[in-house]
């Protein structure tokens, strides 16, 4: 269980972690702060990488979701053009997994959470993937949309945490 203070810290840390990791990888993204929403609001997603976050009193999931265009940009940038972007290719998809791993690792470090462990990324490819909000009581969900500076394509970070008081 996470209290609201921790939750705010985590959401902010994930937002800035994606921006700084992106910067280092050569994929500049801006967080659209005005469009950060509770719940899940994503469109045209063809690929997603999920990471479970557990321990130190936290139970949650972080998900990176990409449109076709942002998927292509990320794969090309992160591999220096050595891998042709293809959502049905496990090599391409593992690059997305690595991105979500780096973002989660940095966000957890930055938010100074102790004893937190993450699961290996789970990679999902499909057509028009939408992450449906979990309706269970005590779960808070946030969607952070990012715009790629180079192409204007969108990339989403969905965070979902069990909260307590």
């Amino acid at each position: 269980m996470v209290d609201m203070d921790k939750l705010v810290i985590l959401v902010n840390s994930f937002g800035s972690a994606l921006v700084s990791v992106g910067e280092e990888l050569g994929v500049s993204v801006n967080l659209n702060k005005s469009q950060v929403t509770q719940g899940v609001k994503v469109q045209n997603v063809c690929a997603a990488a999920l990471i479970g976050i557990v321990g130190g009193g936290i139970q949650g999931t972080a998900i990176v979701l990409l449109e076709k265009n942002s998927f292509d940009v990320v794969i090309t940038a992160m591999t220096g053009g050595m891998i042709t972007p293809n959502i049905d290719d496990a090599m391409s998809m593992s690059v997305i997994g690595e991105l979500s791993n780096m973002v989660s690792g940095r966000a957890i470090t930055q938010s100074a959470m102790v004893g937190v462990d993450v699961t290996p990324p789970q990679l999902i490819a499909g057509d028009n993937i939408r992450n449906v909000p979990n309706q269970a009581p005590g779960i808070r969900c946030f969607t952070l949309p990012f715009t790629m500076v180079c192409s204007g394509a969108t990339l989403y970070l969905v965070l979902s945490f069990h909260i307590g008081s």
Copy 2:
């Protein structure tokens, strides 16, 4: 990290947990033992529920994936027909989350793993969802296909664990 002995126990426990949970919920399923494969092999999936499994030396994910027909059967059976199956409805999807929760809880209890925690289920709806195998070294993936006795529809359980020696 899980050693191979623990991995076999976990995979078997998950298989029997889904059968016994299904039985109690009024959804009889048979595990197609001959079609259990390493890697990920799923078809025509429209809905998925993912649960992260972390702690006690384990890092992994359990995913229930459903075809449209098996989705309909599960929702109708688990809610006694009170909820109309619809992959874009959060109520329907939360039923799938609950199923994955029950199966994971039972499997972890049955396999006598200590200190293992699970994340809340993450629910994914989409068209033709395929779970792409994670290529990272040290990760083992298994697909367990189940057939519904009532309709012959298929339901999949994909398990993915970090392994060590």
